[in-house]
Amino acid sequence: MTILGPILLAALMIGPALIAIMSDSDYEVAIVDDTNMFYDAFSDTRNVKYTHLQTDIDSAMELMRGDKFDAVLHIPEVAFQAPSSLRLFSLKSVNFNAKSHMESVLKNEYESLKLTIAGIDPEVLMAVETRININAVRMDKDGLEKTDYPEVSMGLGFVSGLLIYMFIFLFGSQVLRGVLEEKTSRIVEIIVSSVKPFQLMMGKVIGIGLVGLTQFLIWVVLTFAIVGGVRATFPNLFQFTPTEQVHITATQSLNAEDLQRQMETVQMQNTTAGQILEGLQAINFPVMILSFLFYFIGGYLLYAALFAAIGSAVDNEADTQQFMLPVTVPLLFSIVMMQMIIQNPSGPVAFWLSIIPLTSPVIMMIRIPFGVPFMDLAISAVLLILGFIFTTWLAAKIYRTGILMYGKKIDYAELWKWIRYR
C-alpha cells in the first residue's frame, strides 16, 4: 500500500494526459458535399481529419469499405432545406466526438447562412457577442482585495474533504480490525493484565493514527515526486493537459455547443494555469494547512474511538455490520452533502454541518478554502475536541467490558448496560 498508493495516485494524474496522446489515432472522415457549400467549413481538429471528396457518395462508400476512411459524411443537395437528410456513414460505431464536432460546425454554418439570407451581417453578430466573466473579489477585514476563484476553492475543498473522509474510513476500520484481532486471538486479556484497557485502546488508536499520518505523508511526497519526475522527463506530455481539462469539464455538461466553443477557445484557456495559480494565492494557506491537520486528526480520533468500541463489542467481522451503520452514516452524509455545501459554503446547512462534530471534519474542510469566519472555526474546533473526548470516553466504557465478553449476542441495549457499569 505504501508504495503502491502513490504510484496509483500518480497514474491517476498522469493517465489522462497519456490516454489523450494515445487516443490521437486520427479519425478519418470523408466529406461528400453535393451542395458544394460546406467544404471550407471543416478544418481538421486534433483527432479528426477531414478529406473533401469530389466524387459521388457511392464511390466514397467504396473507399470507406476499402478502409481508406473511418466515416463518410454525406451532405445531399437538399441538405440546406432539410437538415435531417444529413448522413454520417461508418462501418464501426461512430466516434462521438467527431460527430459532435461535425454537428456544431454545420450548426454554425447553417446559422450564418440563415443570417446572411435574413440580411444580417455575421460580422455584426460577432461584434454583438460578448463574453462575460465576473471577477469575484473577496474583501478581507483590512479592506484588502483578493480576486476570488470559486473554482479553485471548490477543487481544494473537495480534495481535502475527500482526503479526510478516506483517511477516517481507511484507518478507522484498521482500528476496528486491530481491536477485533486482539479480541479473537484472545491475547487481549494477557495484555490488559499489564496495561489498562484504556491505555491499550488509546495506544491502538494513536498508533494507527501515526501510521496513517506517516503513510499519508509518504503518499503526498512520493506522488508529487513521481508526477514531477514524469513531467520533467516527458514535458510534451503535459502540453495538452489544459485542453484535456477543458475537454473533460465540457463533456460533463454533455452539451455539444459548449464543447465546440470550449474547444475553439483552447488558446484562451491556456491561461487557466495562471488563473489557478492566482486563485491559489487567494487561499489562506497557513489556515488551510493547520485546519486540515486539525480536522484530519480530530476527525480520525473521533471516529477511531467509535470503531474501536465496535471492534471490542463483537466477536467476528460479520457482526460489525449492525454497529457500523450508525457510525458510517454521518460520514457518508457529509460526502453526499459536499455538492450542496460547495454551492453555498456560507449557508445555514453548511454552518450547522461544519459545527456538528460528526460531520465537521469533512464539511469544514470544504468551507475553509472559501473563507470561514473565525467564530465558526473556533466553535467547530472546540466542539470537535469535546466530541472526540466524549466518543473516547464512551468507547472506553464499551471497550473494557467488550474485550472480555465472548459468545454473547450484543445489541444496543447491551451496549447501554456496559456504558452504565461502574
Binding site: 484472545r186 486479556e189 494477557i190 490488559v192 493484565s193 472480555l404 465472548y406
Partner: protein, 325 residues
C-alpha cells in the same frame, strides 16, 4: 499467618446478576492457593479484579500490607483462561514485547527468554510466526510469558485446559518448582485432581459467594467421615463379634481368605482403639482412613450431598476406588 494477598468483602454486580457477593480471600505467602468453583461461579471475575482488569463495586484489595496499586501488576503474573497470542507476530519478538510490558528491560528479557525456550525445547521456533506453532507449544510460550518477569504472585486460570498429559505434567513440575522458589500461586480450576495434588489452601466459590475456605488438610479433617478400612487375614471369629457399639460395621467382603471391612468410629473415639480391638484376633494387613476426596467435598458443599449417594454408606465412588485397589 503472613498473607501475600488479601481481598476483603469484594462485591461485583452486572446488570441482572451478581458475579461476586461479599467475597474475601486470604492468600498466604509462598504456597499454592486453589480457587475452586463450578463454571460461572465468579472465579474469573475475582481473578480479573485481582489483576485490576475490572474494578469491584465494593471491597478492598491488599498486596502485602499495601493497598493494591496499578504498579503491582509488574509483580503479578497472570495466565488467563481465554488466552492467545498475536498470530502473525514472531514468537520471540512477541514474547519480548509482552515481557517489556511487564517491565522487564529488553536485553534482560531476551536472556531470560532464551533460558526458558531452551528448557521447553522452543529455541527453533524463536523466529517462527505464532500461527505455525502447535496449540501445546503456544501454551508453553504463554506460560513462559506469565512467569518470565519472576512475579511474586502467579495467577493461573484453568492452566491445564488444552494441554496433553505430558505437558500437564511438565507444567505441574514447573509450578511446583516456582512454589519451592518462594512464589505464591493462585490456581483457579474445577479439576479437583490437580487441587489435591497441588494446593495448600483453597477457597470454594459457588453462585457468587465463598462457601468454604482454609487449609486443605484442615478441610479434609473437617469433612472426614470417620470411616476406616481394614484388611484382615486369619480372622478367628466373625468380625461383627469383635465390635462393640463404638464401632459400626458398614460393609465387609471376604475374598481369597482376606476380609475387607469398613468401620465407622463413633465421634470421640480414637482410631487406635479399633486397631487394638482387632489385632489380637486377626492379622492386620492394612488399615487406613477413608477420607473424602476434594471432589467429594466440592460436590457435597455445592450441592449439599455427596455424589452417587447411597443409602448404605455415605461415601463416594472415589472412596470405593480405595477398596478396588
Amino acid at each position: 499467618m503472613e498473607y501475600l494477598f488479601r481481598a476483603e468483602n469484594i462485591s461485583k454486580a452486572y446488570t441482572g446478576h451478581k458475579a461476586l457477593t461479599n467475597v474475601s480471600i486470604h492468600v498466604p505467602a509462598s504456597g499454592i492457593f486453589g480457587l475452586l468453583g463450578p463454571n460461572g461461579a465468579g472465579k474469573t471475575t475475582l481473578i480479573r479484579i485481582i489483576n485490576q482488569i475490572i474494578a469491584p463495586d465494593e471491597g478492598f484489595l491488599f498486596y502485602g500490607n499495601e493497598k493494591l496499586k496499578p504498579e503491582h501488576v509488574h509483580r503479578i503474573g497472570y495466565l488467563p483462561e481465554e488466552r492467545g497470542l498475536y498470530k502473525k507476530m514472531k514468537v520471540g519478538e512477541q514474547a519480548m514485547y509482552l515481557a517489556q510490558l511487564k517491565g522487564v528491560p529488553a536485553h534482560k528479557s531476551k536472556k531470560l527468554l532464551k533460558e526458558w525456550f531452551e528448557k521447553f525445547d522452543l529455541i527453533p521456533w524463536w523466529n517462527k510466526k505464532v500461527e505455525e506453532l502447535s496449540k501445546g507449544m503456544a501454551q508453553k510460550v504463554q506460560f513462559i510469558i506469565t512467569v518470565l518477569h519472576k512475579p511474586d504472585l502467579l495467577i493461573f486460570d484453568e492452566p491445564f485446559s488444552g494441554f496433553d498429559p505430558i505437558n500437564v505434567n511438565l507444567l505441574k513440575q514447573e509450578i511446583l518448582k516456582l512454589r519451592d522458589e518462594g512464589a505464591t500461586i493462585i490456581f483457579s480450576t474445577h479439576n479437583m485432581g490437580s487441587v489435591e495434588e497441588l494446593c495448600d489452601h483453597i477457597a470454594l466459590i459457588n453462585k457468587s459467594e465463598k462457601i468454604l475456605d482454609g487449609n486443605v488438610r484442615d478441610i479434609k479433617k473437617e469433612f472426614s467421615t470417620n470411616i476406616y478400612q481394614l484388611e484382615l487375614g486369619d480372622l478367628k471369629q466373625p468380625i461383627e463379634q469383635l465390635l462393640d457399639r463404638r464401632f459400626e460395621l458398614i460393609r465387609s467382603v471376604a475374598h481369597n481368605g482376606l476380609m475387607t471391612a469398613r468401620v465407622k468410629i463413633a465421634a470421640g473415639t480414637n482410631s487406635n482403639e479399633l486397631l487394638q480391638k482387632v489385632m489380637p484376633l486377626a492379622n492386620v494387613i492394612s488399615f487406613m482412613e477413608l477420607t473424602p476426596s476434594m471432589n467429594d467435598i466440592f460436590i457435597k458443599t455445592v450441592t449439599g450431598k455427596y455424589p452417587q449417594e447411597s443409602s448404605e454408606y455415605e461415601i463416594s465412588e472415589s472412596a470405593n476406588d480405595y477398596l478396588a485397589e
